[in-house]
């Protein structure tokens, strides 16, 4: 259903060409890039140490300070600079989300392919595990795991990976089921290719697109879940800043210092919005049939 009325033919055929034509790709990509740059260059963009508790960072009554030239976004309950905490917190939140999703991407793709390819008991036992994990309310599973393991950054990574991979495994499995019936898999098998070879060279290339789209969209939801975990107290340990942590600490004083929870909220919104836009654009560019330009 792609119309070929404007632009060169090549422009529509390549992935990048299709990406380039979508405003969503530009906006989403721009937002993601902006957030990523802000996080990477946090040390250059912030005048203050995110952990320093400034003597002049609290009012005489001990309340947080509103935005001022000294503290661009104001201070928190301990007199720390919120602008610095926001940027350094973004670093932590983004790195965690990306790593957790890459791990979940590998685990989910592997398990999904194996389950879909071998069927029978391997399939049913693997899928039963994913069913159990999916039946667990994600946040309860996360809270439970959070109290079994001590709060730390590796713990957060483990939790996020565990609650993320089952969905992908299901997607990849159904893709694999469809692909393995196709002609080229049959012919590879008939010339004596091993299962491993087929999985790696024939199935993986066809499932990777699903994984990429899913990863981009999933980073968005992982940023949200990471923030929820920190907010509920099982996320990144203090005093390290993360967006969820800032909200958690500002939670008790949101009526006298609403800026503490507002700024990280906006940051999370911008990040997830960017990743969602980008994910949509990638999906449409990879699979023109579902494109908006119907």
């Amino acid at each position: 259903m792609v119309t070929l009325d404007t632009g060169s033919r090549d422009d529509h055929r390549t992935f990048l060409g299709r990406m380039r034509r979508q405003p969503r790709a530009w906006v989403g990509g721009g937002l993601v890039l902006m957030v990523a740059l802000a996080a990477i260059f946090a040390p250059l963009l912030t005048p203050n140490d995110p952990l320093e508790q400034f003597r002049n960072g609290l009012s005489d009554m001990g309340t947080p300070l509103p935005p001022s030239p000294d503290f661009l976004l104001g201070t928190d309950g301990l007199g720390r600079d919120l602008w610095s905490r926001l940027l350094f917190g973004g670093q932590v939140s983004l790195i965690i989300s990306v790593i957790a999703n890459l791990t979940a991407g590998v685990v989910g793709t592997l398990i999904g392919m194996v389950a879909g390819y071998y069927s029978r008991w391997i399939d049913s036992s693997l899928m039963r595990v994913t069913d159990v994990l999916l039946a667990f309310p994600a946040i309860l599973l996360a809270l439970g795991l959070g109290s079994v393991l001590r709060p730390s950054i590796p713990t957060v990574l483990i939790i996020l990976t565990i609650i993320t991979w089952p969905t992908l495994a299901r997607l990849v499995r159904s893709q694999t089921l469809a692909i393995k019936e196709r002609q080229f898999v049959e012919s590879a098998r008939s010339v004596g290719a091993t299962d491993g070879y087929i999985l790696l060279h024939h199935i993986l290339p066809h499932t990777i697109t699903v994984t990429v789209v899913w990863l981009t969209l999933s980073i968005a939801s992982t940023v949200l879940i990471e923030a929820s975990l920190s907010y509920l107290g099982v996320g990144v340990p203090l005093p390290t800043a993360s967006w969820g942590n800032i909200i958690r600490e500002g939670n008790t004083s949101y009526r006298i210092a609403p800026w503490i929870i507002l700024t990280p909220t906006v940051a999370i919104l911008v990040t997830t919005f960017g990743f969602n836009l980008l994910g949509d654009a990638i999906r449409d560019a990879l699979d023109p049939r579902t494109s908006l330009q119907k």
């Binding site: 069913d131 946040i139 919005f273 836009l277």
Partner: protein, 306 residues
């Protein structure tokens, strides 16, 4: 059809068994001491030991596990270690509040999601579409707990329309239901929109249009009906997701449902309540999924073969 349902039922039971096992293991591995929590820090060790014996916590894990399963089969999930009430009673008491919130959330989802999708799908590419799609994207991008806090600040404190959290009247329900529903509505609008667009591309719709039927009739009679089936199943699945989202919303708004109960139970190491709430929630998820699948299979015979 019957064998299909039976097979799925066996699968569902297996999943619930898995959930019970995992939650038991998780709780068993949790560092902490429920007996000490009950007795308080100032109680002497003998008191705490006595409580452990009373509760059977001094038994080895496999024994505790078999006992737990055995009692669960008889409908006994043990007693809360915090206030000594039966778990079944404590959880079922909180269930109505959660169901109320989840249904209200679902209502918001539909009331917001369906019109948005229609608006977007009937004029694809238009400014309406852009706005509706943009809203939908923002909706799934906002952290619900932060939105909850901000809305409490704005509509509870700055402009005091709604009560500041709590439970009781319709007014208490509105804010949490909206916050709970917004994310779902956005998700919903996206899926329904693409379903609608798919159906609109089908040949019979083109035919109907070509016959000169009014666009309104085509939309109501053909497009909407055909796009609705996958959407209804989505609503079923989504109720399951909603139950998960309920934990955070209940914690923010102090809504006395099983989400808040589970959250507090984890903080208090009230292990029987943790297992009870997880069990109830996952049974709900599994059976909603089952119901959706069976409905789907009944409507589309191809599914059964697979």
């Amino acid at each position: 059809m019957t064998t299909y349902i039976l097979r799925r039922l066996v699968g569902a039971v297996a999943v619930i068994f898995g959930v019970m096992t995992i939650s038991f293991l998780m709780v068993a591995l949790m560092p902490g001491d429920a007996a000490r929590m009950f007795a308080g820090p100032r109680a002497p060790e003998e008191t705490v030991q006595r409580i452990r014996e009373l509760w059977g916590l001094d038994q080895p894990l496999p024994v505790q596990y078999v006992r737990y399963l055995g009692r669960a089969l008889q409908g006994d999930l043990g007693n809360s270690t915090r206030d000594q009430r039966p778990v079944i009673q404590a959880v079922t008491e909180r269930l109505p509040a959660t169901i109320q919130l989840a249904l209200a959330g679902l209502f918001v989802e539909l009331a917001l999601g369906v019109p948005l999708a229609l608006l977007a799908a009937t004029r694809p590419g238009s400014i309406f579409d852009q706005i509706a799609t943009g809203f939908a994207l923002i909706g799934i991008s906002i952290p619900p707990f932060a939105l909850g806090l901000v809305s409490l600040y704005v509509f509870g404190f700055l402009i005091p329309i709604f009560p500041l959290g709590g439970y009781g009247t319709v007014l208490h329900l509105i804010l949490p239901a909206i916050i709970l529903g917004i994310g779902g509505a956005a998700f919903y609008a996206r899926v329904l929109r693409s379903n609608l667009l798919d159906v609109m591309g089908e040949d019979y719709i083109r035919t109907a249009n070509a016959k000169g039927l009014s666009p309104r009739v085509v939309l109501n009679k053909h497009i909407f009906r055909n796009a609705l089936l996958p959407t209804v199943t989505l609503a079923g699945l989504d109720l399951a997701l909603l139950l998960g989202g309920v934990v955070v919303i209940e914690a923010v708004f102090g809504w006395p449902g099983i989400g808040l109960q589970a959250f507090n139970a984890i903080r208090n190491q009230d292990t029987p309540i943790i297992m009870g709430t997880v069990l109830f929630a996952s049974i709900a998820v599994v059976f909603i999924n089952l119901l959706v699948d069976v409905l789907y299979a009944a409507l589309d015979p191809r599914v059964r073969v697979h």
